[in-house]
């Protein structure tokens, strides 16, 4: 026999498990510190790639100047400047990433907590059903 109450609980659970909510379960699979570290790593890699590409565009833009002054150029100063900008950029991104992903994790934590509460209701339902039998 179909049980309406059970279907209602299971439907609610299924809507929690939907594709667009899977990210929350994935996030909750990590410890908070691990989740933030993992995303920090991804951010550092993507910012580094982006910065290298920006440097590439700049070098290409100033190619003529660089070729004509290749012998007299103060490479140490140029590289130092580029590294300083990179480090400043990285610090900004690291702070932003920590704030953003800790907020995302907290949100996922709340969501999964609700899901587990609902699972508890289903477990209780099964227990009651077994007792009745």
């Amino acid at each position: 026999m179909l049980n309406e109450k059970k279907i209602r609980i299971m439907s609610r659970l299924a809507s929690y498990e939907k594709k667009e909510n899977q990210e929350n379960f994935k996030r909750f699979g990590y410890y908070k510190s691990d989740y933030i570290r993992y995303n920090l790593l991804k951010t550092i890699v993507s910012v580094t790639i982006g910065y290298i590409l920006i440097l590439g565009l700049l070098v290409f833009y100033n190619a003529e100047f660089l070729i004509t002054n290749a012998a007299t150029l103060n490479y140490k100063a140029v590289i130092g400047k580029a590294l300083a900008v990179y480090l400043i950029l990285l610090i900004i991104y690291i702070i932003g990433t920590i704030v953003m992903y800790s907020l995302k994790y907290d949100k996922a934590h709340k969501f999964v907590k609700k899901y587990f509460r609902m699972l508890g209701v289903l477990r209780k339902f099964y227990k009651d059903e077994a007792e009745q039998k």
Partner: protein, 349 residues
């Protein structure tokens, strides 16, 4: 207003019933339109401008997520440029990758703005995106809005430089590249548009977050006004924009459009039908969860200026039900009523 509310409810009802067909159809039409716009403005490659390729591409995109459509559109635009200038295509691709690495990967939800702003710039109504994102988004949506503005000016600069130069020597390539970068970095129009859009988005967001009545409508109005004032300052004060008239009209149209979208908010509202699938030990369940929706039937308030005298012979329907009159009694009463009317008419004659 009541009629609009009824239409809204009917549309929501229709949308909740047919969303599984409507969403791909909307995506197909919008992608086809985007491809058409790209081909009209950057149609350098005759193979990509063919109608059947456009239709097939749009059909595939209809079943893909919005962020993927943005990617496909970016690739199509780069391929169009590749046909006339390889170096500029590489530059465009590199700038798009930089944007993704530095900004867009943090806001995949609002990636449609990167695509929508250039297209709406061509239609002269890009102002609706910052207002719309101020209404539905968070302040981080400033990033895709700014990227969208850069994308529009980048492709405009590339188009201009491709049309202006023909040479293929190394020097020509360097020159074209420099022209594009210069026209992007020193573009006051682009920088001020980014600034104004960011301010508009933030102001709209702040106003709609307030707790007073009609905060959403106020958000749209304030956003539109800030946008108009911003572009007027840019145009009249700093002489950056020339077509002030079209900017003001575009802003007004954008404000109205955002209001219409906000009013109907079909895709933005998540109260659509949910199709769920699960199983237990005995059954497989395929559940279709339909949200309860309040259907606003038009309420008609009849205000009587002259109080109507009730006729002793007329019967109230509620009385009939409550007192349980028989059919004969009702007919008897009706006959009396008819006689009374005929007498009255006779007197009038």
């Amino acid at each position: 207003m009541m009629n609009l509310l009824v239409i809204k409810e009917q549309l929501r009802k229709f949308y909740s019933k047919a969303d599984s067909y409507l969403n791909p159809a909307i995506k197909f039409i919008s992608t086809l339109f985007i491809f058409y716009m790209i081909n009209t403005h950057l149609g350098f490659n005759p193979k990509l401008t063919q109608v059947n390729i456009m239709v097939i591409g749009s059909f595939v995109c209809a079943f893909l997520p919005v962020s993927f459509i943005s990617l496909v559109t970016g690739i199509v635009a780069v391929l169009q440029i590749f046909f006339v200038s390889k170096i500029l295509a590489i530059v465009a691709a590199v700038i798009l990758i930089i944007m993704y690495c530095m900004f867009l990967r943090f806001t995949p939800k609002y990636s449609f703005a990167v695509l929508a702003i250039p297209i709406l710039f061509l239609l002269k109504i890009p102002y609706c995106i910052p207002i719309l994102l101020g209404m539905i988004g968070t302040p981080i949506a400033v990033l895709p809005v700014s990227c969208g503005v850069v994308v529009f000016y980048l492709f405009s600069a590339i188009k201009e430089s491709v049309l202006a130069t023909n040479g293929n020597s190394v020097e020509d390539i360097f020159n074209v590249y420099r022209i594009v970068i210069d026209s992007l970095v020193n573009n006051k129009e682009m920088l001020s548009a980014i600034l104004i859009f960011s301010v508009v988005m933030l102001v709209t967001y702040i106003v709609r977050k307030q707790s007073f009545d009609h905060a959403f409508e106020a958000g749209i109005v304030v956003g539109t006004c800030v946008s108009i004032i911003g572009f007027l300052i840019g145009g009249l004060g700093f002489d950056i924009y020339k077509n002030i008239g079209s900017i003001v009209i575009g802003n007004a149209v954008s404000g109205v459009l955002v209001y219409i979208i906000w009013f109907f908010r079909l895709s933005l509202d998540y109260t659509t039908v949910e199709k769920l699938q699960f199983e237990d030990d005995d059954y497989y369940y395929y559940v279709k969860a339909v949200p309860k929706m309040a259907i606003t039937a038009p309420e008609k308030n009849i205000k009587r200026i002259n109080p109507q005298k009730t006729n002793e012979n007329t019967m109230n329907l509620q009385d009939v039900i409550q007192k349980g009159y028989s059919q004969d009694e009702i007919y008897q009463n009706r006959e009396l009523e008819d006689d009374f009317d005929e007498n009255n008419l006779g007197e009038r004659k």
